[in-house]
């Protein structure tokens, strides 16, 4: 009886390990919907862009735990990029949800970022104008308001650490040349269908 129990546990152990690796891999490596970004700063946006300055815009779902990594990477970008680069973090909140719902650890971390302005984005109005869908989506606009980078700044879902997204943003901001994009990993702020209906 014990032998059968141990054999069953051994089989379960082997299957679980294989299945777990597969599930984790799929979860971490599947990107969210890529932004349908415009080539320039959206005219209808109520957000002001500092004239002549390079601006990073990052979209955050405050309850998305994976976006902690995005905030960490945003800090790394602001530390490495020229001091003239400013950041705007747009924090999603549905208007029928109570104020304070968005006040999570992720957003608190965003408030502590240097050269960063945090804006509450009611019903994802600005998120839609910028063409974003996924928490962690980051745009880099140059001094003329041209989009230079669109994508995520983490290597995987919820993983902080060196990655091509950060490297590209820093390189473009420093050199002033080139364009790039990168997959974005995080929770959906706006579903693709909703975004299409905007």
């Amino acid at each position: 009886m014990i032998r059968v129990l141990l054999l069953a546990a051994g089989l379960l152990w082997t299957i679980t390990i294989g299945a777990m690796y597969r599930a984790v891999r799929r979860f971490e490596t599947t990107p969210g919907a890529a932004a349908a970004a415009h080539a320039t700063w959206p005219d209808a946006s109520t957000l002001s862009r500092p004239a002549g300055a390079w601006t990073l815009v990052t979209l955050i779902h405050p309850q998305c735990s994976c976006s902690r990594a995005t905030i960490e990477e945003l800090r790394a970008i602001l530390e490495k990029a020229p001091p003239s680069v400013r950041a705007l973090v747009l924090v999603y909140r549905p208007s029928d949800f109570p104020a304070g719902w968005e006040n999570t650890e992720v957003v608190q971390a965003a408030y502590r970022l240097p050269r960063t302005h945090v804006v509450i984005d009611l019903d994802a109005r600005e998120t839609r104008l910028f063409g974003g869908f996924t928490s962690g989506q980051t745009f880099l606009y140059d001094g003329a308001g041209q989009l230079r980078f669109s994508g995520g700044v983490t290597a995987l879902r919820g993983h902080a650490g060196l990655n091509r997204g950060v490297a590209d943003v820093v390189r473009i901001a420093k050199s002033g040349v080139g364009n790039a994009s990168h997959p974005v990993f995080g929770c959906a702020i706006v579903s693709h269908e909703e975004g299409a209906r905007k």
Partner: protein, 227 residues
């Protein structure tokens, strides 16, 4: 030392190692259960839900902690209960402990601090005084890094195209600790063997003394009878 004493020394040292290893098995059964609970609590605290706008569902991390964690710990816990002290039990425990480390590292988003769990676990595994257990644990860590480095490199190194040998650098730090742990296992085992040898020799001397005393008492009894 005669062959009887040598056999008795081996018997004593095997019994002591068995007792020690059974105790360590039980310790790991408790540790694995605690880690399992900690993984679930951590997942529920750090990432309870995944969101899509206003809608939320249970986060994948919670499922992985509950189902994957249970799958990892169930076999070693059962083996520690029903097959304590056996070679297979401690190797399964070593592999499972390393897989628990990998799970905890994943649940914390690859935090570098969680990697200390690997080094702490290796030190705990040294309690078995079996250097081969350390090797099993190291092979599991290296295999995890090697396979993820091939199929999923960003999860280990943060970049999509690391150098092929990067897993060796990570495993190298583990090997660095292994050298000292293996050495301490060998020394610990030798101490047990030498203490068992001393005890066997004392037992043998005591036995000889008892025989001498018995012979003396018998001679005295014979003398008293003759007188």
């Amino acid at each position: 030392m005669n062959s009887d004493t040598a056999a008795r020394a081996t018997e004593l040292s095997s019994a002591r190692l068995l007792e020690r290893r059974s105790r360590v098995d039980r310790m790991f059964a408790v540790l694995l259960a605690v880690q399992y609970a900690a993984g679930i609590i951590g997942a529920l605290t750090v990432s309870p839900y995944a969101w899509e706008g206003k809608v939320h569902v249970v986060h994948m991390h919670v499922w992985i902690a509950v189902v994957g964690g249970a799958g990892i710990v169930i076999l070693p816990i059962l083996m520690a209960i029903f097959r304590p002290g056996t070679l297979l039990t401690r190797h399964v425990i070593a592999a499972s402990q390393m897989l628990s480390s990998a799970l905890l590292i994943h649940l914390t988003g690859g935090r570098i601090e969680t990697h200390f769990h690997v080094f702490g676990s290796l030190a705990f595994l040294a309690f078995y005084l079996d250097w081969q257990v350390i090797l099993t644990a190291t092979v599991v860590v290296a295999a995890d890094h090697f396979l993820r480095g091939i199929f999923w490199p960003e999860s280990v190194y943060g970049v999509a195209n690391p150098e092929w040998w990067r897993f060796l650098e990570h495993a190298g730090w583990v090997v660095f600790e292994d050298v000292f742990l293996i050495w301490s296992c060998i020394l610990g085992r030798r101490e047990i063997e030498s203490s068992a040898t001393r005890e066997a020799q004392i037992e043998q001397l005591s036995e000889q003394e008892q025989l001498k005393t018995a012979a003396l008492q018998m001679a005295l009894a014979e003398m008293q009878t003759a007188v």
